[in-house]
């Protein structure tokens, strides 16, 4: 009997087979369609429904978009142009309202001769943010800075900026570019100073106010320096107390005295002149900048093992998260006067910023708490074993990792907060969405125009929020790549 039979005869291949093209149903567009659109009855039905939806949208709204008019001074003029061009019965969008009311949507009631100031503030904001946002990629930094520089300077020239401020902006933008090429660290002092500068550029007034605000921390630093050698804990406390005391009791009168002795300043702009996207961005940026640190403090307190600290932060977070933002805005506009000493009357935008900040900070705290909880215990133990104290361990080990884990949550909190800035319309501020559009419609020329302002404002919000969410995805990917 043989041990081998036909199937198991030894076999050695002497020529290799070349790859053959697949059958027609397995390749190209046909295969793609089959797999992605018509792989089964359910799939086919879904495809048809999808096509119907697209067909419905296109057939109903295409002509409206296609007949858009961008150049007219009133709704009636718009309609006339459409009829003249496309015949009786034609309809079309009248985006001319955006063109004609552009300044109002962007700057609100800000004095037109000072439009260059918010423009410059916004351009410099991007310079200040570059070291924070785009620390990893030189190419992106270059692109962002060059575009910012060109856009800011041309707009400032067009808006009639005085030469001296044009020179100042050029200097900062050029400095930002040099720093970005050489050493990003050089930009950090500018980023730290920016909040004060931005506030002064927007609201204007005496230069001495912000200068003396700056003096506070300097005095605090001196106090800390003197005591730091002997009593480190007391020294930190002393620094904080000195700063606060200076701000509370001295900086205001000192600024007034200085202004009397040596008047220096730019034209002041009252808060009720703010409106449109200028208002949204001001509140949004301030809220973002303030709510992140506050959220971190709240999250750390909530994780603390000190009973009182933990309970205070739990009560605060749960209270803020339990009520709608509108009620907090009402507190800002109606109740704050009850809680403060009689006669105090501080700025409504500032009040709204405080409330929006508190609101976002409570949500931020919960997001960051999730990040803190996700860190393995070993990280805390290793930091302890190396002898790092609580604050150093938090700053060097725990927070960098916890914040990284929380990036998606943090950014979606930012997005939510930016969208919520539209609610300020209910406390009488001119947000771009409702109050400003109502104001535009209140004019006889634009009475009855609804869809175009909604589309415009919605598109701007969409671009900003969508960009933020994409940026957070970019960051997530970058951080994953870095550490794996």
């Amino acid at each position: 009997m043989s041990d081998t039979h036909a199937q198991t005869v030894p076999f050695v291949r002497d020529t290799m087979l070349p790859a053959a093209p697949p059958p027609a149903t397995q390749a190209g567009a046909v295969r793609w369609l089959r797999e992605n659109l018509f792989s089964g009855p359910v799939n086919t039905v879904l495809t048809i429904i999808g096509l119907l939806i697209i067909w419905f949208l296109v057939s109903h709204y295409w002509d409206w978009f296609a007949h858009s008019v961008w150049n007219a001074n009133s709704l009636n003029e718009c309609r006339q142009i459409i009829i003249d061009t496309w015949g009786e019965g034609a309809r079309g969008a009248c985006f001319a309202v955006i063109r004609e009311r552009w300044n109002q949507y962007v700057f609100g009631f800000y004095p037109p001769e000072l439009y260059w100031r918010p423009t410059m503030t916004f351009g410099l904001l991007i310079v200040a943010l570059v070291p924070v946002l785009f620390s990893a990629s030189l190419t992106i930094r270059r692109a962002v800075l060059v575009i910012t520089a060109i856009a800011t300077l041309t707009s400032m020239i067009a808006l009639g900026s005085p030469v001296i401020w044009l020179a100042f902006a050029t200097l900062v933008l050029a400095g930002g570019f040099v720093a970005s090429e050489r050493n990003l660290g050089w930009l950090l002092p500018f980023s730290m100073l920016y909040p004060l500068m931005g506030v002064w550029f927007l609201w204007g007034g005496s230069v001495w106010g912000p200068v003396f605000v700056l003096v506070g921390p300097v005095l605090g630093w001196i106090a800390w320096r003197i005591l730091a050698g002997r009593m480190p804990v007391i020294a930190v406390l002393a620094g904080v107390v000195v700063t606060l005391l200076f701000w509370l009791f001295l900086s205001g009168s000192a600024a007034e005295d200085a202004q009397r002795l040596l008047p220096m300043g730019i034209e002041a702009v009252r808060s009720d002149r703010f409106g449109g996207f200028l208002l949204s961005v001001t509140i949004g940026v301030a809220g973002i900048a303030l709510s992140l640190p506050l959220g971190i403090v709240l999250a750390l307190s909530r994780q603390s093992d000190m009973f009182l600290i933990k309970s205070l932060s739990v009560v605060f977070i749960e209270f803020i998260r339990g009520v709608p933002l509108i009620t907090l805005l009402f507190v800002a506009s109606l109740l704050l006067n009850y809680f403060l000493p009689p006669g105090t009357n501080f700025d409504i935008i500032l009040r709204v910023i405080i409330m929006v900040t508190l609101f976002a900070a409570a949500y931020m705290a919960e997001v960051i708490r999730g990040g803190l909880a996700a860190l393995p215990r070993g990280q805390y133990e290793a930091a302890d074993a190396l002898g790092l104290d609580y604050w150093k361990a938090q700053r060097l080990i725990i927070l960098p990792q916890a914040l990284k884990i929380s990036i998606p949550g943090i950014v979606s909190t930012f997005i939510g907060m930016f969208k919520d800035t539209t609610l300020v319309t209910f406390v009488g501020l001119y947000d771009p969405l409702k109050s400003m559009s109502d104001a535009v419609r209140a004019n006889i020329e634009w009475k009855g125009i609804y869809w175009e302002p909604f589309i415009f404002v919605g598109a701007i919000f969409f671009i900003i929020c969508f960009a933020m969410s994409r940026y957070s995805m970019y960051l997530e990917r970058r951080l994953q790549r870095d550490h794996k």
Partner: protein, 418 residues
């Protein structure tokens, strides 16, 4: 014998308040406590002196005074002669109505869209992505205003439905009419009305409603009993008796019987004169708010559902298939329990958000809690402090109830891990 730690013997020195672990946290907490108390004392002191200066007091007596304003669309009987308290209750009920309707609709739409985004159909998945991104990245207020504008600017007055060849016709088999003031929907009629139960305070509940609730709740309990029995039989014999038809029967048959018994039927609205009668005319502010909240929240829910399904690793279903479980059982026993654990907590916080966002009723004039207590009542009585504090407390209570529900759920499904 063990002896206590050495430091306990050491005499107390003031520096230990800062450098000794046991005292440091105490020191810190005492300082914070003093600061918080001082801040509270300052705020309360300011409030008292401000109230005195304005000649006001802090007192909720205004709630029992005559409200004197009308509310359109009230779930319980209300007239201008009722108290502010009753107006507040109407507002709260309106908040609850739009929130509950919104949660239900948003869940259905959100789950559908979330699953559709995972569909293999390229076109449909893309369309759903566009929907989700557009709604998530544009403020809710804009959606409310846009839908409101559609209802007021595009929809016709009721009399557009009149005549031989009307400009507009009713939808859903002549049962629903959309107009620029209200949406007319059918209501339920009974041939055999059993009368109503008076709950006091002019709130009545029809006995038929009670009968349906009892039938549904009873049916649900019987269903549980049937399933428990099936489980027992399966544990004993290994074979699970079929329960599907029994369950369907106990859930549906009693309701069918009640429908027949009370002679329940739909009453479609019809145009009489200038308005629709015979049905239920729902004010457009409710419809608009409900639609906007639903579309907006559903976009977020869709993302949660999608993430929840993706979070269950493919290995889980492969393992279940390899064990020989059929797809349906795999879904019920392996995938869903894990996915739900991921989905439910953020889902409930979306419900929370929806409830809070319902306060945007202010944009369309829907009389919710903000509109009554925090709106007209506040303006008429001038009691800002009391009205806003009370309103915040009510919202807070609602939120705490919802999150308590979430915590119970979380503790029940928490993965048992070391």
């Amino acid at each position: 014998m063990t002896d206590v730690s050495a430091s306990a013997h050491a005499s107390f020195r003031p520096s230990m308040l800062i450098y000794d672990r046991r005292y440091r946290s105490l020191t810190f907490q005492v300082i914070v406590f003093i600061l918080v108390m001082a801040a509270l004392w300052w705020l309360i002191g300011n409030t008292i002196s401000n109230l005195n200066a304005m000649g006001k007091s802090f007192d909720f007596g205004f709630l029992f005074q005559r409200a004197g304003y009308d509310i359109s669309g009230t779930p319980i009987p209300y007239t201008g002669n009722d108290s502010h308290l009753r107006a507040t209750m109407v507002g709260l009920l309106n908040t609850l109505i739009v929130s509950i309707l919104g949660c239900i609709a948003a869940t259905i739409l959100g789950v559908a869209v979330g699953v559709a985004r995972l569909s293999k159909n390229w076109l449909f998945a893309r369309l759903m992505t566009v929907y989700v991104e557009i709604f998530r990245n544009i403020p809710l207020l804009l959606w409310i205003l846009v839908i409101y504008a559609v209802f007021t600017e595009i929809l016709p007055a009721p009399n557009a439905y009149r005549g031989e060849s009307p400009a507009w016709s009713m939808i859903l088999f002549d049962h629903v009419a959309l107009t620029n003031r209200y949406t007319a929907i059918p209501t339920l009629g009974m041939d055999n009305d059993p009368g109503s139960l008076d709950l006091g305070a002019r709130v009545t509940v029809n006995w038929a409603t009670i009968a349906f609730v009892v039938a549904l709740v009873g049916g649900w309990f019987i269903r549980r009993a049937i399933n428990a029995h099936a489980q027992k039989v399966q544990d004993r014999t290994g074979i699970r008796p079929a329960t599907l038809w029994k369950n369907l029967a106990v859930m549906i048959l009693p309701s069918l019987f009640l429908i027949w018994y009370f002679g329940l039927h739909l009453l479609a609205p019809s145009l009489q004169g200038f308005n629709f009668t015979g049905g239920l005319n729902i004010t457009n502010s409710l419809v608009v708010l409900w639609l906007a909240l639903t579309l907006y929240t559903a976009a977020f829910i869709a993302e949660i559902v999608r993430a929840g399904i993706l979070a269950v690793s493919r290995g889980q279903s492969e393992a279940a298939f390899a064990l020989g479980l059929r797809p349906k059982r795999t879904m019920n026993l392996v995938i869903l329990p894990q996915a739900l654990r991921v989905i439910i907590p953020p889902l409930i916080s979306q419900y929370l958000n929806l409830t809070k966002n319902s306060s945007l009723a202010i944009a369309v004039g829907y009389m919710d809690l903000r509109g009554t207590l925090g709106g007209t009542t506040l303006n008429q009585t001038g009691r800002e402090l009391e009205a806003i504090v009370l309103m915040m407390l009510i919202y807070l209570a609602l939120s705490l109830i919802i999150s308590a529900g979430m915590n119970i759920f979380n503790s029940r499904v928490k993965l048992k891990e070391r």
